[in-house]
Symmetry: C2
Subunit: 235 residues, 2 copies
């Protein structure tokens, strides 16, 4: 029985790290638990220790302890024994590369499918789709594979950004990039705006937060779905 929060971003503008997600942590993880943190994505190049410290401080506000997976001698055992798992954001290529390099991608998949509660933000959410093919990140390292956890039967684009109609910049818009993705891939893509998350409860997938999400299906016009819509049948 999967149970997960897949959030577009860790932090809303003007708020503290994870602040808007704190009210939902106990529902996901329970309380007085020790959560296993996966810091591999290293936002801005921050060290595993510093990143873990930052997440630990935030989780403390929800009466949850937290420990970095890099602190364990046997990361596979850490995954199997964890009360819950949180994967933080940063660079998706680095995160996926490290998950494969440390040989834990498949075990991470297994424990969450069998019920260990999971939260991801940004890159940590990106990897819960079928592939990392709709990340916004820079390919700073080459992972063994782009295939990811597949907790949902589609791809996710976190930090989804609407086209800036005033821009004179000729770089591609997000929508153009996803259109390019669909020239060679067929799975749907969920564009999750900042402040939105997907709630997974067993086989149910529900959009949460205040904002609509943008859904891109291959060979269809993109469309919006409102909060509390189920996305269970999107595949």
């Amino acid at each position: 029985m999967k149970k997960a929060i897949l959030a577009s971003t860790s932090t809303l503008h003007g708020e503290d790290y994870l602040s808007y997600l704190l009210p939902h942590l106990n529902n996901l993880y329970g309380s007085n638990k020790e959560i296993l943190f996966i810091p591999y994505a290293r936002p801005g190049g921050i060290s595993h220790d510093d990143y873990t410290k930052k997440a630990k401080q935030a989780f403390k506000k929800a009466n949850l302890d937290l420990r970095g997976i890099h602190e364990f001698e046997k990361p596979l055992d850490a995954l199997k024994n964890a009360d819950g798992i949180f994967t933080g954001g940063g660079n998706t290529f680095l995160l996926v590369s490290e998950l494969y390099r440390n040989g834990i991608m498949e075990t991470l998949r297994q424990v969450v499918l069998y019920g260990t509660p999971y939260m991801g933000t940004s890159a940590g959410t990106n990897i819960t789709g079928l592939t990392m093919g709709t990340t916004n990140d820079m390919p700073i390292i080459q992972p063994k594979s782009f295939k990811t956890l597949g907790f949902v039967p589609f791809n996710i684009n976190p930090h989804y950004l609407d086209p800036d109609t005033n821009s004179t910049h000729k770089g591609e818009t997000r929508e153009t990039r996803i259109k390019e993705f669909h020239r060679i891939n067929t799975q749907p893509v969920v564009g999750l705006r900042e402040g939105s998350w997907l709630e997974l409860d067993g086989n149910e997938i529900t959009l949460k937060g205040q904002l609509s999400a943008r859904i891109f299906e291959c060979n269809k016009e993109a469309y919006e779905v409102e909060p509390n819509t189920t996305l269970t049948h999107l595949n």
Copy 2:
């Protein structure tokens, strides 16, 4: 003797495709030549034929004919016999993937190093660095390798964009991304703003256009270089 124009973008805001580069094409390629076009990057998913047609129309204004590499039965021979080569922009992952899949990456490198004039825009410029690790594109397909042509001894970030100080969006700035790149890679990165290009003439590398470029060296503060600066010694 390398001879190349490595442009950040194909099109400036409010201008026609390649318009600002047309005055420089004859200096690079000569005139009345047939240029070989590499359309693999397929911007917005456009077909090879449509993309070639678009480039052909622009090149005609400089008295240059153009033919797509996909029209040749033997692309390796096409590369070896070409009067000049132009690689258009689009998705860098797709471009690199196709260059490897068609077995032409190494030959493309050889013919340009031995003197076939080359122009790239956007993705076509990205691949002239040491790796594609500083592309802005979405990883819509997994290439065999991130290693690219190495016409310059550094990486290039095309469409370089300064941080938007008014933005409330939490996605990483370009500078943050490049900083993450430098946590695991050591080569310099040249952030080429739209309208800028690098001119390669033998071993000389010179910044051209009206704007400064932003240079990121590992473990150094980023700095600006002015047009007509030589970047020959950056490595």
